[in-house]
C-alpha cells in the first residue's frame, strides 16, 4: 500500500540515540540516567532544512538564469512539559551537573529519530533520522497557574529519510530507496 496516509501527533515518537564520540558518550550518560530514550510529554516539534539557495541574474534579465545551492542548515525546536532537567543537561552536559565541573567539557551530541507510524498499518513507517544534533538554547516558562513548559532549539549535521513500506502482515520492510541516475 502506498505511503499516502496522514498522521497526527498521536502517531509520533521521538527517540534519542547516542553517537560513538566523546560528545555522544556524555549524551548517552544523560539519556540513560534520565531514561529518555523515548522523550515523553513533548508538546511541539519543528524541524527545518534551509539550503540558502541563491539566484543568479544576468544583466538585462529579470528572471534568474540559475539557482545555486548554498549552505545547508538543519535546525528545529522542541517543547516539552518540564518534568526533569534531562534536556537542559543534554544542552550543557557536565556544565549542568549538581557540582561544579572544571572547563573544558564537551557539549553532548546525539541523534534524534522522529517516527510516524499508524498502528492500523504496522508495516508502514516514516522516519526522519537527524544526526549530529546539539541543542542550541533552552528556555523555560513558569506560569503561576498553568503547566510548566520548556522549549529548546537544536541544530544538526544531517537529516535522512527512512521510509518503510511493508505489507499488512507486519514486519519491517527495507527503507524505500530512490534509484538516482549515476553521474
Amino acid at each position: 500500500m502506498a505511503l499516502t496516509e496522514v498522521f497526527t501527533g498521536k502517531h509520533a515518537a521521538l527517540t534519542l540515540a547516542s553517537e560513538d564520540t566523546p560528545e555522544g558518550a556524555d549524551a548517552k550518560a544523560v539519556v540513560d540516567e534520565f531514561a529518555i530514550q523515548t522523550v515523553g510529554r513533548l508538546t511541539d516539534v519543528r524541524v527545518t532544512v534551509d539550503t540558502a539557495l541563491k539566484e543568479f541574474y544576468e544583466v538585462g534579465r529579470r528572471h534568474p538564469v540559475s539557482l545555486s545551492p548554498g549552505d545547508i542548515a538543519v535546525h528545529g525546536t522542541v517543547g516539552r512539559a518540564y518534568v526533569n532537567g534531562a534536556l537542559l543537561m543534554l544542552l550543557q552536559g557536565r556544565g549542568s551537573a549538581p557540582t561544579a565541573i572544571a572547563e573544558p567539557y564537551v557539549q553532548p551530541a546525539f541523534t534524534i529519530t522522529l517516527r510516524l507510524a499508524d498502528p492500523a498499518r504496522p508495516g508502514n513507517s516514516l522516519t526522519l533520522e537527524i544526526g549530529g544534533v546539539k541543542f542550541q538554547n533552552w528556555s523555560f516558562t513558569l506560569p503561576e497557574d498553568d503547566f510548566v513548559l520548556e522549549n529548546l532549539a537544536f541544530r544538526a549535521l544531517t537529516i535522512r529519510v527512512v521510509d518503510r513500506e511493508g505489507g499488512d502482515s507486519g514486519g519491517e520492510a527495507a527503507p524505500t530507496a530512490v534509484a538516482f541516475a549515476s553521474e
Binding site: G9, K10, A35, T38, A117, A120
Partner: protein
C-alpha cells in the same frame, strides 16, 4: 481469585468463568464511609466499577448473558487490532474510573429521593505528548518499558436532590467545598485541572415522591490516565520449540528443534542448564526469582570452561570466580564455584522488587518476583566456540527441577 477458564473443547461439560471483585473503603474518616470497587472479568480483563453490592450481580449477569450470545467485537475470537492500539485501556473504562472517583464525593442519597449522580456533559480525547508518551522506565532486569498515558478534556455535571430548596443549596455548597478541599487528592488521582463552570438554580420537581428539589453543577476538568505500554517490552521467552517440514507438511522428513537465548527458566518441573557458547562475552548476569516457600535446596554452579578438558579449579565464592575468569586471558580459564541458591542469588546483588507475573503456585494471587542483577566490572570473555559459561542447578534429591514450587529466570546480558 482469578484463574478464568472457558474451555472451547466441545467435549467439556462445564463452562467456567471467573470474576475478580475488589472492594475498597476510602476516606473512612469522612462519614459516611462507603464501599465501592471494581469487578474484573478474568477472561477478558474487562473491568466495571461498582458502587453498590447489587451492581456486582448485575455486572456478572450482563457479562454472562453477553458470553452466552457468542463472541463479540474486541473479545477473544472477535476482531483483533494489532500494534499500539492494543496497549491503552478502553476509554469506556477510563471514563468509568474517572466518574467513580468523582462519585465518591457525592453526598449520601436522602430517603425517598433519587440518588445523586455525576454524568458527562462533553468529553474530548487529548494527548499527553507526542504519541501519548510519558517517557521510559528502566525495569532493571527487563530493559525499559514505555510509559504512556492519555487525557480527557471533559465537562461533568453533578446532580443533587433534597427535600427543600435550602437543603439542596446547602448540599451543593458542601459538594463544592469538598471538591476544593480534595484538590490535592484529585490531582494525585489524575485530575490535572478542575474548575467549576456553572450551577443551575434549585428546581422543584413535583413528580418525584412528595416533591423534590434538584440542583446541578458543571465542572470543566482535564483528567490524565496512565498506563505502561507492554508492546515493546522485553520478554521472558526461554525456549521456542520449532518444527520444519522440508517437503510435505507433517511428513516423515519433519525436523524438530529448539531455539534458545541466553535465558533459562528453572522451576519444579525442570531446570535446564544456561549455556553461553563463545565467541561471546558475559558482562551482566540477572536473576528473577519467585520462591514462595523456604529457601531453595540443592546447589547452583557457575562454571567457565575452555573446552581443553583441563580440570576446573573449584573456587570458594562468586567474587573469586569472576576475578579468576574475567577478561580475554583469564587467570583460570577452567574454573567453577558451587553455592546454595540463596547464596548464589545474593552474590548477584541486593534483592530488588521485580515484577508480578503469572500464578505458578496457584494461590490465586500474581507471583511477585525478586530481581538480582550483577554487572561485571571486567567482562568474562569467551573467545572461541570451545569456550563455555554454564549455570547449572543440581537438585538435592536428584529430581528434574527445583526442589519446591518456585520459578527462577536466569539471564546473561539482559537488555
Amino acid at each position: 481469585m482469578g484463574g478464568a477458564a472457558m474451555d472451547d473443547d466441545a467435549g467439556d461439560l462445564v463452562v467456567a468463568r471467573s470474576f475478580v471483585v475488589r472492594a475498597m473503603l476510602e476516606r473512612p474518616d469522612v462519614a459516611p464511609a462507603r464501599w465501592h470497587g471494581f469487578i474484573t472479568d478474568a477472561e477478558t480483563g474487562e473491568r466495571h466499577a461498582w458502587r453498590r453490592v447489587a451492581d456486582i450481580a448485575r455486572s456478572v449477569e450482563a457479562t454472562l448473558a453477553a458470553a452466552a450470545a457468542g463472541p463479540r467485537r474486541g473479545s477473544p475470537g472477535g476482531l483483533r487490532i494489532r500494534g499500539a492500539a492494543m496497549a491503552g485501556p478502553a476509554l469506556t473504562d477510563v471514563v468509568t474510573d474517572m466518574l467513580t472517583v468523582l462519585g465518591l464525593r457525592l453526598p449520601a442519597a436522602a430517603p425517598a429521593l433519587p440518588d445523586p449522580n455525576v454524568t458527562l456533559e462533553r468529553v474530548q480525547e487529548k494527548l499527553v505528548g507526542l504519541g501519548n508518551h510519558r517517557g521510559d522506565e528502566p525495569t532493571g532486569t527487563l530493559g525499559t518499558r514505555t510509559l504512556r498515558g492519555g487525557r480527557l478534556d471533559a465537562r461533568v455535571r453533578f446532580q443533587l436532590w433534597a427535600a427543600s430548596a435550602p437543603d439542596v443549596d446547602a448540599a451543593m455548597q458542601l459538594l463544592h467545598t469538598t471538591l476544593l478541599d480534595d484538590g490535592a487528592d484529585l490531582r494525585q488521582e489524575g485530575f490535572l485541572r478542575f474548575a467549576a463552570a456553572g450551577t443551575t438554580l434549585a428546581e422543584h420537581v413535583p413528580t418525584v415522591g412528595a416533591g423534590a428539589w434538584r440542583k446541578a453543577s458543571s465542572f470543566d476538568l482535564l483528567y490524565e490516565y496512565q498506563f505502561v505500554d507492554a508492546d515493546d517490552a522485553a520478554s521472558l521467552i526461554a525456549r521456542l520449540e520449532v518444527t520444519t517440514d522440508p517437503e510435505v507438511v507433517a511428513g516423515p522428513g519433519r525436523e524438530r528443534g529448539s531455539i534458545v537465548d541466553e535465558l533459562a527458566r528453572w522451576d519444579d518441573e525442570g531446570a535446564p542448564d544456561l549455556v553461553v557458547r563463545g565467541p561471546a562475552g558475559v558482562a551482566r548476569v540477572s536473576a528473577l526469582t519467585f520462591v514462595p516457600g523456604p529457601a531453595l535446596g540443592g546447589t547452583v554452579t557457575f562454571a567457565r570452561s575452555s573446552g581443553t578438558g583441563a580440570p576446573a579449579a573449584h573456587l570458594p565464592d562468586l567474587d573469586a570466580f569472576w576475578l579468576a575468569t574475567a577478561g580475554a586471558r583469564p587467570a583460570q580459564p577452567d574454573a567453577d564455584v558451587t553455592l546454595t541458591p540463596a547464596l548464589a542469588f545474593a552474590a548477584l546483588g541486593p534483592p530488588a522488587p521485580g515484577l508480578e507475573l503469572g500464578d505458578w503456585d496457584a494461590d490465586a494471587t500474581p507471583d511477585a518476583y525478586t530481581a538480582f542483577d550483577r554487572r561485571l566490572d571486567d567482562a568474562l570473555v569467551l573467545p572461541t566456540a570451545a569456550d563455555r559459561f554454564t549455570l547449572t542447578y543440581t537438585p538435592p534429591g536428584g529430581g528434574a527441577g527445583l526442589d519446591q514450587t518456585a520459578v527462577v529466570y536466569l539471564r546473561v546480558n539482559p537488555p
